[in-house]
């Protein structure tokens, strides 16, 4: 059953993914560069293509609050935000995972103030890595569309919220040809959400009560288990999606990683650019590969270790920055690879922070530099 091919930007592609997932409630607050996602959803609603309650809140904090309770009544819930909006949601992000509400949210990566800017930079979502949300990083509108469906499947299976992330403008506002799967396939992949526990006067359950230390401990432990289970659930969802729709991504992707001297590791839109750099370098005779980390939470520790076993060097490109430690992926990679006897030397480059342009030529230079030099312990600024 083939889908429809359309020319849309990354945000609208995401909205098509949401339409296919049939959420019943979408509480939202506008913010650039996210707004086109909900504008499209509201268009679908107005045209009768979606049966959904769009709730326009007075801030993102209220939007996420409404998401949580709507989700706890046992219906599928979606929202979208970016940057400052995500920052304002922070308190509620923890609440959502603690309440085990499988909300799916798209975050469009944008710089955080101050100073003010609108540029692609992943720091906003990466700074939420410890909130108990599953996180996927996508490089195209097609990938976001497909991943939204997968995210709902995984979130509803393990009962944790999930964030699907793509970057401002490079993805959110760039036009591309996108294939929208047939609704029947989406329905087959993602059956209606019917959780056994929900806010329902018949069932009489409650959320958010005060607990003692032991109960809190147990709660965190089960939350951790759910997050661990998300790894297998994400692999399974991706495999099933591939079987059904014909497209899959893996939780990591290894591109031309046969016998490499060095591997580029990155996330989001940078992977598209890096793939081109890899092709050019391979053509020039350099054995270089690409490791795309798509699922960032839970971090695919074993898969990453396996992918990098016996590889001499890895160069991590971070379009994000945590002052005091450097790039988020760089930190995570160092932690993931720690203690491996046959693991790679890890170079951490801050590339594209604040949305600066990183063309393939620049990535090629960085690869050559990483090959020529010993890795520094601290991150290196690369423009």
């Amino acid at each position: 059953m083939s889908g429809e091919r359309i020319l849309v930007n990354g945000n609208h592609a995401a909205a098509y993914g949401v339409r296919l997932a049939r959420p019943m409630v979408v509480p939202v607050y506008p913010i650039t560069p996210q707004t086109p996602i909900v504008e499209k959803i509201s268009e679908f609603q107005a045209e009768g293509q979606m049966e959904v309650e769009l709730v326009t809140a007075e801030s993102e904090h209220s939007a996420m609050s409404a998401c949580i309770t709507a989700s706890l009544t046992g219906v599928r819930v979606f929202t979208a935000t970016a940057s400052q909006g995500l920052m304002l949601m922070h308190e509620m992000l923890h609440y959502a995972s603690g309440a085990r509400a499988p909300i799916v949210m798209v975050n469009v990566n944008r710089t955080i103030g101050s100073p003010w800017g609108f540029w692609p930079d992943q720091t906003d979502s990466l700074a939420q890595r410890d909130t108990g949300w599953i996180q996927y990083y996508c490089e195209s509108g097609q990938e976001s569309l497909d991943t939204i469906l997968q995210a709902f499947r995984v979130a509803e299976k393990v009962l944790l919220p999930a964030m699907v992330v793509h970057e401002a403008f490079y993805v959110s506002h760039s036009l591309e040809v996108v294939e929208v799967p047939a609704q029947e396939l989406a329905d087959q992949f993602l059956p209606p959400f019917t959780p056994p526990h929900r806010l329902d006067p018949e069932i009489k359950e409650s959320w958010g009560n005060t607990v003692n230390q032991d109960m809190f401990y147990r709660h965190r432990k089960t939350l951790g288990e759910a997050m661990d289970n998300a790894l297998a659930a994400a692999k399974e969802a991706d495999a099933d999606y591939r079987a059904l729709v014909g497209r899959g991504y893996g939780i990591i992707e290894e591109y031309r990683c046969d016998n490499p001297e060095i591997i580029i590791a990155t996330m989001g839109s940078m992977t598209g650019t890096a793939r081109e750099a890899v092709d050019e370098l391979r053509a020039e005779g350099l054995a270089v590969g690409l490791l795309k980390v798509k699922l960032f939470r839970p971090f695919p520790l074993k898969d990453v270790r396996r992918a990098l076993t016996g590889v001499p060097k890895v160069v991590v490109l971070d379009r994000n920055f945590a002052p005091g430690t450097g790039g988020f992926l760089h930190q995570e990679m160092k932690a993931a690879l720690y203690g491996m006897s046959d693991g790679p030397e890890v170079h951490g480059y801050l590339a594209g922070v604040g949305g600066t342009n990183i063309p393939p030529a620049k990535i090629k230079d960085m690869v050559r530099e990483a090959l020529a030099e010993k890795a520094a312990a601290e991150p290196v600024w690369k423009g």
């Binding site: 506008p30 707004t35 007075e58 801030s59 400052q84 304002l88």
Partner: protein
Amino acid sequence: MSFDVMDYFRQETLPHIWCPGCGNGIILRDFAVALERLNYPRDEVVIVSGIGCSSRAAGYLNFDTVHTTHGRALPFATGIKLANPNLKVFVIMGDGDSSAIGGNHLIHAARRNIDLTAIIFNNNIYGMTGGQFSPLTPRDKKATTAPYGMIEQSFDICRLAEGAGATYVGRATTYHNQLLTQLIIDGAQNPGFSLIEAVTHCPTSYGRRNGMASPSDMVRWQKDNAVWIDKVRAGKAEVKDGQFTIGLLHRHEAPEFTQAYMEVIKRARGQE
């Protein structure tokens, strides 16, 4: 000495980002004129703004300015005023900024009666993000998030501020711009929280959707629907449905927050 408005602008930041036909520039000029007449030493003036089209105003003005986050201009301004109560602090906000995401701060600044002068650019819409309704979008008016008309009741932000404790409250429009200048001057001189609502026109995001596509239609609407409060009080005019009052709407005296703060410190130290 003649008044040159450009003297008040950071000219390297111009041209501004506002759409052709936007009313914000009129308010900005009126504000510059008010500052000229107030004649405060320039380094005693601080201008704080939130986020939105209107809040870009702060960046254009050649004073100490802070462009903050959406909804939080008043807490930022409160910090400045408490750190140095001698400063003259002006706060520029949009209608969404001040009454939706930042509504909580507005009522508390008014309740404390802290000596800030808030100028609210009311275009009845979220301008910057493309025309979603705000708490000041009148019932039945259209917005991208209300394509069939606004179903929620809107705030009268002046009455809200008055109810919350503001000691000076006035409203003018981009048409009644001399009044606007005067209200800003008087509001600045009021020792307490002053709120001035500047009704402005946004043809791009509001007018086009509500039968007023051209800026002149919108300004004419202001002219036709603004009713001077003095005339209403004198029984010479009435406010019909859809109309609104302009002028000095409310004033009362009450202890000002930073003063009260200094006094309580003195009392605690036995210096009274």
